[in-house]
């Protein structure tokens, strides 16, 4: 398979950056998108060129490190992570545009690598449960009904890859934040911090420069883990409920 790649190259965060065209040949359809980029990088290194920088870690779709906009879609044409996207979804002779996540809160570090630490600051403002560490508690001490556990798990699947922010025309982190809020607020372990969690995380989300939600639904379409759009409605309900209860903003 021979492909034309147009990849965003940017040396430093301050650099202007531009789309640069590369030709790659001998691509197997069984390769993942990242393996295809690995091959390009090997050729670039042999030619004495700078390899394309991109984030990756587990390469099995569970860490959320890899992320790039392929042909205008976060993680490319399939509903999966870039590492799990295979070249069989492209055709010989295709021109593929590869760009980094675009959002004010995710500044480009280099090429396709963006700084997603804004997500960490949102998590740090409430995306956890305060429990004493020590030996594991008895599993049946805190019963959770099966439908609640299932719904919480559906939201716990979020890997924080940032595709929702990249796909949103407003660079909004509502789907990410709501996944965490819904996951923890549903469970009895998260109940003591139910109000402060949602208030703190929404405030942090706004502070980090993410946009607001205009209900375009782009985030839920792009999410490789299938976090549903209803998650945002639930977070809105939790936020309004916590506001009316006068929950404490900061701990």
């Amino acid at each position: 398979m021979n492909l034309t790649l147009r990849i965003w190259r940017q040396r430093t965060p301050e650099d202007a950056g531009a789309m640069t065209t590369y030709e790659v040949g001998g691509i197997s359809e069984d390769m993942s998108f990242l393996e295809m980029l690995d091959q390009l990088n090997e050729e670039l290194i042999l030619a004495g060129d700078e390899p394309v920088a991109f984030d990756h870690d587990c390469r099995e779709g569970i860490c959320g490190a890899c992320g790039m906009v392929i042909n205008g879609r976060a993680h490319g044409p399939e509903r999966t992570t870039t590492c799990q996207l295979h070249m069989r979804h492209f055709s010989d002779g295709d021109t593929i545009d590869v760009e980094p996540w675009r959002a004010a809160a995710f500044p480009v570090v280099k090429d396709l690598v963006v700084d997603r630490s804004a997500f960490d600051r949102v998590i740090g403002s409430g995306g956890y449960v305060s429990v004493p560490t020590g030996s594991a508690p008895e599993a049946h001490a805190t019963p959770v009904p099966k439908p609640v556990a299932d719904l919480a798990f559906e939201h716990a699947e979020c890997i924080g890859c940032g595709a929702c922010v990249a796909a949103c025309p407003n660079g909004s982190a509502m789907l990410f934040t709501s996944a965490k809020v819904v996951h923890l607020n549903l469970l009895p372990q998260g109940a003591p911090e139910r109000e402060s969690r949602v208030l703190g995380m929404v405030e942090a989300m706004d502070d980090q420069g993410f946009g607001g939600c205009t209900n375009t639904g782009e985030c839920a379409t792009a999410c490789p883990k299938g976090i549903p759009l209803s998650s945002i409605a639930t977070m809105n309900r939790e936020y309004l409920r916590a506001s009316l209860k006068g929950g404490t903003r900061r701990r």
Partner: protein, 244 residues
């Protein structure tokens, strides 16, 4: 902290327990809260529009009935309320809704545009037409409201301009083809705005759920179609001579 006088120091300690932020202040500051304000004010305006549209349809039953309806609006609530008080209370609530809705939309839009400073080189068609036209559709509706008030409330730009003769003023206004066309265009924009806005409000207020999603979307489409058709019927009636 310098503490020469113990009384001052005690005061400083006492004020360290932060007063909880006011509900209105904290809600207005957050994007989620501001959206909730937009949702509530949008629903207030939507409820008004349903009543307005039903009232408008009385135009098809003749000048007498329509003008009588116009007179009745000014007497609602009497003798508890003074003449026209109900009307002015409604106008005040609507003005507050329009202003809050517009200001919140402007501030949120500024924020949204700043949050995505660099566009993608390769883009694809995103979201529905109704969703993509919310901002400019809203601006068109705001301009329409100004024209509409000048035309049929204050009668500033009305060719007939007779106080209390609603029917005759309306027929004279829609007698100008460009006014009728502008009105119809604005009502189509209104339909699109409600199509996305109603469902969006449910989502923003947390009333949506996977179970209710289809019902709410159907309700949004139904309301949009009903209001658009109901409002457009009046200029069409004048243009076809049914109302004259």
């Amino acid at each position: 902290m310098d503490c020469d006088r113990p009384s001052v120091c005690a005061m400083a300690l006492a004020t360290r327990t932060d007063r909880p932020p006011s509900l209105i202040g904290s809600v207005w500051r957050s994007t989620v809260g501001k959206k909730a304000v937009m949702a509530v004010t949008g629903l207030v305006m939507l409820a008004y529009l349903v009543a307005h549209m039903l009232g408008n349809l009385k135009v098809f039953f003749g000048a007498g009935e329509f003008n009588h309806y116009g007179h009745w609006i000014r007497t609602i609530g009497e003798p508890f309320l003074h003449h026209m008080w109900f009307l002015w209370l409604t106008r005040a609530a609507l003005t507050a809704s329009v202003v809050l809705h517009g200001v919140a939309a402007y501030q949120l839009s500024r924020r949204d545009l700043a949050a995505r400073p660099v566009k993608y080189r390769r883009t694809r068609q995103r979201a529905s037409y109704a969703t993509r036209t919310m901002r400019w559709g809203g601006v068109i509706l705001a301009l329409f409201i100004v024209w509409h008030i000048l035309d049929l409330t204050t009668l500033t730009v009305n060719p007939n301009a007779q106080e209390g003769r609603l029917y005759e003023n309306l027929v004279a206004s829609f007698g100008r083809w460009y006014v009728a066309v502008f009105y119809i265009a604005a009502m189509l924009a209104l339909g699109l705005h409600i199509r996305h806005g109603f469902w969006s409000a449910a989502q923003t207020l947390g009333a949506n759920s996977p179970r209710r999603d289809r019902v709410l979307k159907a309700a949004a489409n139904g309301l949009a179609a009903l209001l658009t058709c109901g409002f457009i019927a009046v200029p069409l009636g004048v243009m076809t001579g049914v109302v004259s």
